[in-house]
């Protein structure tokens, strides 16, 4: 599926929730579906700076696609990471570079993605795009 399709699916999924509690419960569920990140990958290099809840993001480039693995100490953050990886994992650098991230707003999770540094997700998206640009040059 293209990034766009995946985003549309997510927007639709989330549109069924009546209130924020359902949405948050779903995110908490999603957080449990994340692939486990090896402790050795939770190093300073993979740490995303300026987050209240630590976020680690690792990227591998294989067969033209980027393989992301990520984790966080906070479960809601982890839920959003799960959403982001559902969209961006195993995509080509080019696809990622061209993608739009406004779906997050449409899902209604904007508050977690503001440039407010309390939260590392904004930096995480920047970092995902950064990897894409880096690998695109290779």
């Amino acid at each position: 599926m293209t990034i766009e399709n995946l985003q549309e699916n997510l927007i639709e999924d989330f549109s069924f929730f009546d209130d924020w509690t359902q949405k948050y419960e779903y995110m908490i569920e999603l957080s449990k579906t994340l692939d486990k990140m090896d402790e050795s990958l939770k190093n300073d290099e993979n740490l995303i700076k300026g987050c209240q809840s630590k976020v680690w993001l690792n990227a591998d480039f294989k067969d033209g696609k980027i393989n992301f693995i990520a984790d966080s100490e906070a479960i809601i953050t982890k839920g959003i990471i799960a959403i982001l990886l559902m969209v961006f994992n195993n995509k080509t650098p080019d696809e990622i570079i061209k993608s739009d991230v406004s779906f997050i707003e449409k899902i209604g999770l904007k508050e977690h993605l503001s440039p407010n540094r309390a939260n590392g997700l904004y930096s995480m998206i920047k970092q995902i795009k950064f990897y894409a640009i880096a690998y695109n040059k290779k």
Binding site: T21, Y24, Q52, S53, A74, I76, T77, E111, A118
Partner: protein, 405 residues
């Protein structure tokens, strides 16, 4: 006098705000206080009626603005009981104030000199001193915390010596709310001829401070934590010390004579007030102090103590909730975690219930390291809060907990 919180809340229009469809409950008072209408109006009034640059103008507007600005200085002097008006330096806030002092001593510190910091500090009272030590090769020693988070006074007595030139600590810890034994620390430090800087960012809003009685050498606070506006604060320093130390910034207002060969600095307070200051902010700061004095600091203290006691009891009813710094001598802050849950998660969900708390390290990473935790949820109370709000907080925490575990 009855402390009529319902009436007082009418002075704060922001308290009517809805957050996520819920009534705002503001428990982030230690980060910044909310602003009463009279303070907001004083800012509009300034710009509508007498906005002008100060100190150098011959025209009436400039006179009016200068007079209001200097009157604010007098208010700060009187409220904090400084001996001389010129001992009150207006700054852009506590951080700026501390940097004035740490920079001011650069030329007076050598590699044999030591400075002592408490382990209970905000980054603003750590980093400037680290920068200073790096430049002067003087040594930074740290007063350790005991297991409850209180300063270990015995250890302080071991650390302090004739080599100690400066001791700096906050009056109240922003991360835990613990009140430090500053009287004792000032006395001991002075017996070694060490100077003491007290960071009053978290204390000035909660009790009246008497600088002469404390006999402290430097003191600072920020207006935005005292019902005043952002971008303004003050540094108090004893006259002879302010006269001795180097100015921090060069510019207009802080000089008495400028040629390209030689410049002589103006007298205090102007020596430290380079450039156009935050004129409207300084005036509003004075109005904010007036407002708080009308409520009465004794009344504020008593009411906040009751709130703190009630909130502590209420939160302790929650299973698995751990309060850090739960000691006798504290004010208005409850810093906690719920075992197995990250503070960020709790903060995010409380926000959904309209409850504003702060989470994380609270710019006090060493304290978090002491407890070996990534952060806490911090509920910081003030006289604008009510007992009902605390009940709602308790409920919301319980709901968050059940959602997250």
């Amino acid at each position: 006098m009855k402390f009529d919180v319902k009436n007082i809340r009418e002075d704060f229009p922001i308290l009517k705000k809805q957050i996520n469809g819920k009534q705002l409950i503001y428990f982030d008072n230690a980060a910044t206080s909310q602003t009463p209408t009279c303070v907001i109006n004083s800012i509009s009034d300034y710009y509508n009626n007498y906005n002008s640059n100060i100190h150098r103008g011959v025209h009436s507007l400039s006179e009016e603005a200068t007079e209001a600005y200097e009157k604010a200085r007098g208010k700060i002097q009187i409220h904090f009981n400084a001996k001389h008006k010129e001992e009150v330096i207006f700054t852009s806030g506590t951080t700026h104030s501390i940097n004035i002092v740490s920079n001011g001593f650069l030329d007076l510190m050598g590699e044999d000199d030591e400075i002592i910091v408490s382990g209970l500090e905000h980054h603003s009272n750590i980093v400037p001193w680290q920068m200073m030590c790096e430049k002067t090769n003087s040594k930074l020693k740290v007063i350790p915390l005991d297991k409850n988070g209180e300063l270990d006074l015995k250890e302080f007595k071991n650390l302090v010596s004739k080599k100690t030139k400066l001791v700096f600590l906050n009056h109240v810890s922003n991360a835990l709310g613990i009140i430090n034994p500053i009287e004792e620390i000032i006395q001991i430090s002075h017996s070694y001829n060490a100077l003491v800087l007290i960071d009053g960012a978290q204390s000035a809003a909660h009790f009246k401070i008497d600088l002469q009685k404390l006999n402290v050498d430097f003191f600072t606070a920020s207006a935005h934590k005292l019902c005043g506006p952002t971008g303004v604060g003050f540094l108090y320093g004893k006259k002879e010390l302010l006269e001795k130390i180097e100015p921090f910034m060069g510019g207009g207002e802080m000089i008495s004579d400028v040629t390209f060969e030689k410049t002589t600095y103006a007298e205090i307070p102007h020596k430290f007030e380079a450039g156009t200051p935050n004129i409207s902010g300084v005036i509003a700061f004075g109005v904010a102090l007036d407002y708080m004095n009308t409520l009465g600091f004794e009344n504020i203290r008593q009411y906040e103590d009751k709130l703190l006691k009630y909130a502590t009891e209420k939160l302790k009813e929650i299973d698995g909730l751990i309060i850090y710094g739960d000691v006798k001598n504290k004010t208005s802050v409850i810093s906690f975690n719920i075992s197995g849950i990250h503070s960020y998660d709790i903060g995010s969900i409380l926000d959904k219930y309209g409850v504003a708390v702060r989470t994380g390290q609270h710019c006090a990473q060493p304290i978090m390291d002491h407890f070996d935790i990534p952060g806490t949820v911090r509920v910081s109370l003030s006289f604008i809060n009510t007992f009902e709000e605390i009940d709602i907080l308790q409920e919301a925490i319980i709901k968050a907990k059940s959602m997250l575990s």
